[in-house]
């Protein structure tokens, strides 16, 4: 064993250090490239040694992410990454665990694991690349595809109501609910950092463009012409403002949100809804902006950190219980365990 010297102090890593030697094989123009880039860009700032990072993924285009990160990783089976990550984190709470999933992987085949992971609240990060389509199986509608979606398996349109992932996560008692999008690198980096800082399961929904099977689904939220009208980027402590000239605000009318025109003299910024990540009631309304109308009005799609809550993590609770029991009862010897309390001896 060598003793620690100045020489051993690791120089700061770069984005390149996190790239594995494997060729990245997503389709040209896929939103996943941007996500990979943002992850590799922000990871050096986290200061976590590469060997302490584990990526776990299931199946789907997004799940290939694991192969492209020069960390530890497991590309597992469809929908089960959350369950595998639970075992990793329970056994070794020290590891920094990142789950990468897609909308089919997380909310369809892995739906049960997803909701239970949220309530259990291990300290890990759960990224869902939501492109509202099955990509790897070549274009079937997914549990987040909009009603009426025409896809390979729904030639006459999907008849099903989709999940709103943020609303689902919140309902499943997630302690960190956020949304970003592939075409806004700065915003995604900010959300990833917040996710990393949060102690508990950080749910990050990332709107991701599938250029082959669902091109342009989210362009309204990223393109100059429409972005300001159709998207709203929430920040802690700031009023909810959007619009081409930031002329629109959102305020509460009783328990209903309404859109107001800030150019009208009767409305001031002080009257607006102030974003508070700790307020679950607000978060539950905010997450429903995506697919709800309130008082007949459509609301802009929100991005940012919607909700955050401090709650003891599952692995912490497990460790604390073990500590408490050990202090109270001690560790019995294996001989004592094998003999139990009631024995008899034959001479």
């Amino acid at each position: 064993m060598s003793t620690t010297t100045e020489m051993d102090v690791m120089p700061k890593l770069t984005a390149k250090d996190f790239a594995s030697n494997q060729e990245v094989k997503w389709c040209p123009g896929c939103g996943d490239y941007s996500i990979l880039k943002q992850v590799q860009t922000v990871f050096p700032d986290f200061g976590v040694p590469k060997e302490d990072i584990v990526f776990i993924s299931g199946i789907g285009c997004a799940a290939r992410f694991t192969y492209y990160m020069d960390t530890y990783g497991m590309h597992s089976i469809h929908g089960r990454a959350a369950a595998i990550a639970s075992g990793v984190k329970t056994l070794n709470p020290h590891l920094s665990v990142w789950v990468v999933s897609g909308d089919g992987d997380a909310f369809s085949i892995g739906g049960n694991h997803f909701i239970h992971l949220m309530r259990k609240n291990f300290d890990l990060n759960y990224l869902v690349f939501n492109n509202q389509i099955y990509g790897l199986t070549k274009g079937q509608y997914s549990p987040t595809s909009e009603k009426g979606k025409v896809a390979k398996s729904t030639p006459y349109g999907s008849v099903e109501e989709p999940f709103n992932p943020a609303e689902l996560a919140l309902g499943a008692k997630s302690t960190f609910v956020s949304r970003s999008l592939d075409r806004d690198p700065k915003h995604m980096q900010m959300v990833l950092k917040r996710a990393n800082e949060h102690k508990g399961t950080s749910f990050v929904e990332i709107y991701q463009n599938c250029p082959v099977f669902n091109d342009g689904t989210y362009f309204a939220f990223s393109e100059k012409e429409t972005k300001k009208e159709q998207a709203i980027f929430v920040e802690q402590g700031k009023p909810l403002v959007f619009g081409t000239t930031e002329e629109k605000g959102i305020k509460f009318d009783g328990l209903q949100p309404i859109i107001v025109n800030l150019n009208e003299t009767s409305v001031s910024l002080n009257d607006l809804w102030i974003h508070d990540e700790r307020d679950k009631t607000k978060a539950s309304i905010l997450t429903r902006f995506a697919d709800n109308e309130f008082k007949g009005e459509s609301f802009p799609r929100p991005f940012g950190v919607f909700y955050q809550e401090e709650r003891s993590t599952c692995e912490e609770a497990i460790e604390n219980q073990i500590k408490e029991l050990t202090a109270r009862k001690g560790k019995p010897s294996l001989d004592k365990i094998l003999s139990g309390d009631k024995t008899w001896t034959i001479l």
Partner: protein
């Protein structure tokens, strides 16, 4: 029962018996399992060898008084070696009409019936399906038996009158009256149960006192009334010297896992989802959180095994326990562990299938599923436990194979040995073998690279804990290059990897003991080849017949994949090979396919273990 000699003590003569089978039978709520367990523990404590068989319905409280709600507990105890819970009973305790109806057919002619007549009123008789006006206690149909008609309910009420307890609590104590009476009948001490009651109701002294009072009342009833013509005494068995405890298979499974963790130095992680009859392993292990054990009740069977895979990946010993339907759900994940080549123990406590089947009944019908139940070529080792106590050794052996050979391993037990119990001469910690764990911490490839699938002489790949500096790598369910472990779709490489995975499992045969004929000649007419929980019945019958001079031998397999290397040679030494199984012939298919031996099936798929008499008849038929 086999009577040895007569003694006269006090007013009731005590008859020495070599072995006795008692069946406690009553409604699901009558406390028959507890009564049976208490009787068993006491018999074990005084040194009898024994074997038990709890036999209960799948419903927690099936309709009261009906035959579908009958819960039975059978104990066979003796002064000789006991390998099965017994085919027929010497004593039947029937707490109601339904219990008598269900279990009378297996009471020996001349056997003793102890009934609670409160369970034979008009309502109970009707619920049990006796025709109107017919009461078996009064119509002479039990003339071939010694029947004791006791109003247990009324006597218990009288005993506890004035204690201030409610009618419900008083009713619940009636099983203690019966237990006390049986202790008197078999001259067994009450101290053990008194200690148990005091511990169980430590915080409810009034309940504890009531139970003890009722227990003693039962004893005194036997002692003071002169309705019993005789008492029985079963002397201690001449078991090998040593210290014993009584243990069920599920309990032994849990202890085996704790021991495997300790001798490997690996933290134990159990991912499990509640399922009959496997849940007791989860319950038991959950008590040992201070022993480097983490238990995780997952959201479903799939999460249970996947969390265990995650734990093994993180450098622990991942285990999952389940039964048939759970096995089916875990199948895809077992395939993942197979291609990842990481240690994982999968314990399948088999029950009657297919589908929900017979949840509380026993069967050996998952052997072929264990062998082949994966898509693709997915070979994994399969081993099986042969008795309640043997679950301990089998679990340790399965753990050793999983860890030292970097592979998922399936351990098969079944409901019969999982719930059944026997005396166990438990080992001390220093008698246990070590399990060798080698975590790799250095690069193993050219230029400091790490090759995740470079193999050693066992064809085993390196195990690296995440957190190990410089060895970051990715593994997954996609086919991988034979050395680097990187994803490879190359056709020839897939062929090579398929062959390596099979060869790796077959090579385990170099690291397991050879098969050995346990009883009988090394060559001869008939070999009875068994696996799993049929051991007790086969052992009993072959021992007996061989002693009588028949040319019969017994070989019992623990290792089912790979088979011991000498199995084929052994099978050739006998003119006939009989394979008794609680399935439609699964081991039979395996040995026929592998060794081209014309083995003879003997199958029973009725949710019940083989009786020694039916097995004996089959063997004698072949020896004609």
């Amino acid at each position: 029962m086999e009577i040895i000699e007569n003694n006269v003590v006090n007013h009731t003569p005590i008859i020495e018996a070599e072995s006795i089978v008692i069946r406690f039978s009553g409604d699901s709520g009558d406390g028959m399992q507890l009564t049976g367990n208490q009787f068993t523990d006491t018999a074990a404590f005084v040194g009898n060898d024994l074997s038990t068989f709890p036999d209960f319905p799948a419903e927690i409280r099936a309709p009261i008084g009906t035959t579908s709600g009958v819960s039975g507990f059978q104990v066979h105890f003796g002064s000789k070696e006991i390998f099965t819970p017994g085919d027929e009973f010497d004593v039947l305790v029937a707490m109601n009409s339904a219990a008598l109806k269900v279990d009378l057919p297996r009471l020996k002619k001349g056997g003793i019936i102890i009934t609670n007549i409160a369970g034979f009123d008009k309502k109970n008789l009707s619920l049990a399906g006796y025709p109107d006006g017919i009461n078996p206690l009064e119509d002479g149909s039990l003339n071939d038996y010694i029947v004791h008609k006791i109003d247990v309910t009324k006597l218990t009420k009288e005993c506890l009158a004035g204690t201030g307890l409610g009618m419900k609590e008083i009713e619940r104590s009636k099983n203690m009256f019966v237990l006390g009476l049986l202790f008197w009948m078999f001259d067994e001490p009450m101290e053990y149960t008194i200690t148990f009651i005091n511990e169980k109701f430590a915080k409810k002294q009034d309940i504890a006192d009531a139970n003890i009072k009722t227990l003693k009342a039962g004893w005194n009833f036997g002692d003071h009334t002169e309705i019993f013509a005789s008492r029985f005494k079963v002397s201690p068995a001449k078991l090998p010297k040593g210290t014993y405890r009584n243990i069920t298979g599920n309990h032994a499974t849990a202890l085996g896992l704790i021991a495997a963790s300790e001798i490997s130095g690996l933290p134990l992680f159990l991912g499990s989802y509640p399922i009959t009859p496997a849940s007791d392993v989860l319950h038991e292990l959950s008590k040992y959180k201070t022993s480097n054990v983490k238990t995780f009740q997952a959201e479903d069977e799939i999460a249970a095994i996947c969390s265990a895979i995650g734990a093994s990946y993180a450098g622990g010993f991942g285990v999952t326990t389940t039964s048939g339907p759970g096995m089916s759900l875990k199948t895809e994940a077992i395939g993942l562990a197979t291609i990842l080549e990481i240690p994982l123990l999968i314990v399948n406590i088999q029950r009657g299938g297919p589908s929900t089947g017979l949840p509380t009944k026993t069967e050996q019908s998952d052997l072929l599923q264990a062998m082949y139940g994966r898509h693709g070529e997915g070979p994994i080792p399969v081993i099986a436990a042969s008795s309640p106590a043997d679950c301990f050794n089998t679990i340790i052996e399965g753990s050793r194979i999983a860890i030292e050979h970097m592979t998922p391993v399936i351990v098969l037990t079944d409901g019969y040995i999982a719930n059944g119990s026997e005396p166990w001469r438990f080992p001390t910690a220093d008698q246990l073998p070590k399990i060798n764990v080698k975590f790799v911490t250095e690069a193993n490839g050219p230029d400091g690279t790490f090759l995740a699938y470079k193999r050693d002489e066992k064809l085993v790949r390196p195990w690296v804990k995440p957190g190990t500096k410089g060895l970051m790598h990715r593994i997954g369910g996609l086919e991988k290059h034979a050395d680097t472990g990187n994803v490879s779709y190359d056709a020839k490489n897939h062929g090579i990897m398929t062959e390596i995975r099979e060869a790796k499992i077959q090579r385990i045969a170099d690291y397991i003991p050879l098969a050995k004929v346990e009883c009988g000649n090394d060559k001869g007419n008939l070999l009875v080849l068994g696996w799993g929980s049929t051991d007790g019945a086969i052992k009993t019958v072959v021992h007996e017949l061989f002693k009588e001079g028949y040319d019969v031998a017994h070989l019992h397999l623990r290792y089912l994949n790979p088979f011991p290397k000498n199995l084929g040679e052994i099978l050739k030494n006998y003119t006939q090979v009989l394979v008794p199984e609680m399935n439609c012939g699964q081991l039979l298919k395996l040995v026929r396919a592998k060794y081209l031996v014309d083995a003879i099936p003997y199958n029973k798929v009725q949710g019940q273990p083989f009786t020694t008499s039916e097995l004996k008849n089959k063997i004698l038929e072949l020896l004609k």
